[in-house]
Point group: C2
Chain length 245, copies 2
DNA sequence: TTATATTGTGTAAAAAATACACATTTTTGT
DNA sequence: ACAAAAATGTGTATTTTTTACACAATATAA
């Protein structure tokens, strides 16, 4: 940012004391809120906690926390994930900030929204947080604060990203069948896909590793299990063009 | 956001006094910074001002300002645009926030980055701001604060968006030739495009209005001038799918 | 053994993207 | 007046991508 506008003085007068300048600015509390997506039983899920504010009693909210004094935004978001899920190296993306003056009953609080994709099997919820639960994305209605808006914006971002990058794998177990993969895409995008074309598409991208293993305990012909070839994907980061309004 | 983590107490104890809660949070100053893109002489431009901080003497910075006490982020960003360019109803999009603890020499300042597209002919720079100038995007090197990073991120966002929505028209005069349009896309995306295919593409999208007028004062055969059919575009907001890593 | 459920597979048609060249129109310079 | 320069305007063939669509094979459950 730059100088506050009204006292524009033309040219030349440089501000010596930046600390004094910033001290005079209005201040806001700063938080991060994480939309943590998971996938289970062919449904897209979100991890929510009950609001601890009387004002939102009974309502669900996103997992978030205050950003500490000398902490960057990403650090804070990773910390929230780590503290809540025990998971460390996770996909995480900043989405956007929300700062409507009335969005928090306690005063001005600016929040930076993130979303994250985790494998619901790989984490253990913190014991004490017995109000932390996975929710079906579809079934979520009212939430505390403006968290429903944040959730919707993050879901839209996910829908978009998952078509540009193979992020979906973060939600799946290490080994997965193509049907699971397709169910995942259908759940995220909320559409039906053609099975043969879906397979063709993913095979042609050529970063599925055939494990030569098969599903077990399914009440029908078991499908082959694949792994995602992260290395190959990272080597071939696709160039990108095509006007497409 | 939700409760601060360390003193997790299990369940049940709702916070009555949200104001007291927020009062105890660390605070940050909050600003918006606008990357204002323009297009002139076939070059993508950005509007910059000289830093008014001694610490960044001589360096260029984005146009920004503090977010006022009861102002939302978008309001603040529109205000910056209005105050700097005199323009009111302009395309503007929030990109992301930057809050590294050391990013401002005066203490913690969180900034929310926006980008905006304006027609360089439609505005008059504020008289007093005689250090506000258009810069060739290509030629920008060091900047004050972390503004070069912000600029780069916003440019990437623009490159992406301009292929999903016909935003480019915001940078052009009301009437424009197809060559100007192509030059614009080539400047934004920093690539060469095939002239015939480019024309085909845009004609097939069918929101160019033929004005039956032609360029004047060009040292060669003049091209036809077109207008952009905003209404038609808004009616046909395209649905969207195609996995495309 | 049969019914059920799901996997695995290929081709044809349609749509979209790409590569590519020449005649036309205007201005500028002689 | 003419020639040179510069850019416009236009169409087709090829390749690539997307879409639509059906049946045999394999495993489990009854």
């Amino acid at each position: 940012m730059n100088r506050s506008l009204p006292p524009l003085t033309g040219r030349g007068e440089l501000i010596q004391d930046a600390v004094q300048l910033v001290a005079a600015y209005p201040k806001t509390a700063l938080t991060v809120d994480c939309v943590i997506f998971g996938f289970e039983e062919n449904e897209l899920k979100v991890l929510l906690i009950r609001s601890d504010l009387q004002a939102y009693k009974g309502l669900w909210t996103l997992l978030g926390d205050v950003v500490n004094e000398s902490e960057d935004l990403n650090e804070a978001a990773y910390r929230v994930l780590r503290e809540r899920t025990g998971l460390n190296d996770i996909f995480l993306e900043q989405v956007q900030s929300f700062s409507a003056p009335g969005r928090h009953p306690g005063g001005r609080v600016t929040t930076v929204a993130y979303y994250s994709l985790i494998n619901v099997r790989h984490h253990k919820l913190r014991k004490l947080d017995n109000e932390v639960h996975w929710h079906n994305l579809e079934s979520i209605e009212a939430m505390g604060f403006d968290h429903k808006d944040i959730l919707d914006v993050c879901h839209q971002r996910l829908q978009r990203r998952v078509q540009e990058h193979p992020l979906g794998f973060n939600l799946l177990p290490d080994k997965f069948s193509l049907r699971e993969l397709q169910n995942l895409y259908e759940a995220i995008l909320d559409i039906k896909l053609d099975r043969r074309n879906f397979r063709k598409k993913f095979f042609s991208m050529d970063f599925l590793i055939d494990t030569e293993e098969y599903e077990v305990d399914v009440p029908h012909r078991p499908g082959k299990l694949y792994k995602f070839n992260f290395q190959k994907y990272q080597r071939n980061q696709k160039k990108w063009f095509g006007i497409d309004f």
